[in-house]
């Protein structure tokens, strides 16, 4: 678990203008759970190294892993991974990491996922795992600035028909004809506690401020704090 493995970039897909899906082949990958992450290490020729954490965006599938990377303006690592790392090149990864922010498809309790921006990445692994292996009620609330920021749009639309309720929340600009005015996630955007129930397992992922806000709404709505799991980017 604590050692670095070579990972070769085999595919890069465009999710948005700044969001990319990176697929790596990692020989001897041991498998992982939805919600886990990896640390990625880049090494320069002069020995300088940089390490960042990225969520695994898809369930375990052989030696292939998928990461969701948002190119941060002025960032040191993410713009390079998102745009410059050549397909076929290698980085190092350590993982899978984290045993707390995870969902297992054999869990039968209702699941409420709340994503802020690229916080959708680990939750997408849960949506995909759910699609393939679970009938538990799953509800996704996904907050984006505007319609152009939605990652995995088509796949989420398909998941909607396969048992995952998807609710998009636009904070700055809503699509034409939308009945919901732009604004950050509010209590009315979350499924009512009566429907969700006290035993709902909640996963919240996004920027720190978003997670604070969303977790507060969940507690106010009656969800048990011990059933709310969060992952903040900082």
């Amino acid at each position: 678990m604590g050692s670095w493995r070579n990972a070769r970039l085999v595919e890069r897909a465009e999710l948005t203008t700044t969001g990319r899906s990176l697929h790596f082949d990692v020989p001897h990958w041991p498998g992982h759970l939805a919600g886990q992450h990896v640390d990625v290490r880049l090494s320069a020729d002069d020995g300088y190294q940089a390490v960042r954490s990225y969520s695994l965006a898809a369930p375990s599938k052989g030696t292939r892993i998928e990461l969701g990377v948002q190119a941060a303006a002025g960032g040191e690592v993410s713009p390079y991974l998102a745009g410059d790392l050549p397909v076929g090149a290698e980085v190092e990864v350590k993982g899978p990491l984290g045993g707390w922010f995870v969902w297992r498809p054999e869990q039968e309790d209702p699941v409420l996922l709340v994503a802020g921006g690229c916080g959708i990445a680990p939750l997408m692994a849960m949506v995909r795992d759910h699609r393939d292996h679970s009938t538990a009620p799953m509800h996704l609330v996904y907050s984006v600035r505007d319609p152009a920021q939605v990652w995995y749009r088509e796949e989420l639309g398909a998941a909607q028909g396969l048992g995952t309720t998807v609710h998009l929340v636009h904070t700055r600009q809503a699509p034409p004809g939308s009945s919901r005015p732009p604004g950050r996630v509010g209590a009315h955007d979350l499924p009512p506690p009566a429907a969700a129930g006290a035993e709902t397992l909640c996963f919240v992922c996004g920027p720190t401020g978003f997670v604070e806000h969303a977790a507060g709404l969940l507690v106010d709505a009656g969800h048990a704090p011990g059933r709310i799991r969060t992952e903040r980017f900082g």
């Binding site: 678990m1 350590k94 969060t230 992952e231």
Partner: protein, 91 residues
């Protein structure tokens, strides 16, 4: 959002460096804060940087739960504020 975001991450972010020391994932470990009594997991600590020095604080009372400092050849782990520090050689 107009309010500035607090600059911390979850204890989950410590999973990578701590995996060099622990053979079992430590982020799911249960913990009781000796200062305020709050219980939770290591993953729920609030982690303040910047790297290579990270401080994990209790989400209830901000007491220091652990400090982790990464050096090229060593990893320093201090548990709590008065528990001394452990220095692990990095392989």
């Amino acid at each position: 959002m107009n309010t500035p975001s607090p600059s911390y991450r979850d204890g989950n972010a410590l999973a990578g460096p701590l995996s060099e020391i622990f053979t079992t994932d430590p982020t799911a470990a249960w913990r009781r804060c000796p200062d305020c009594g709050l219980t939770g997991s290591l993953a729920q600590l609030r982690v303040y940087g910047p790297e290579p020095g990270l401080t994990g604080r209790c989400p209830g009372c901000a007491a220091v739960a652990l400090r982790l400092v990464e050096q090229p050849d060593h990893l320093w782990l201090q548990m709590g504020s008065g528990g001394g520090a452990f220095r692990f050689p990095r392989l």
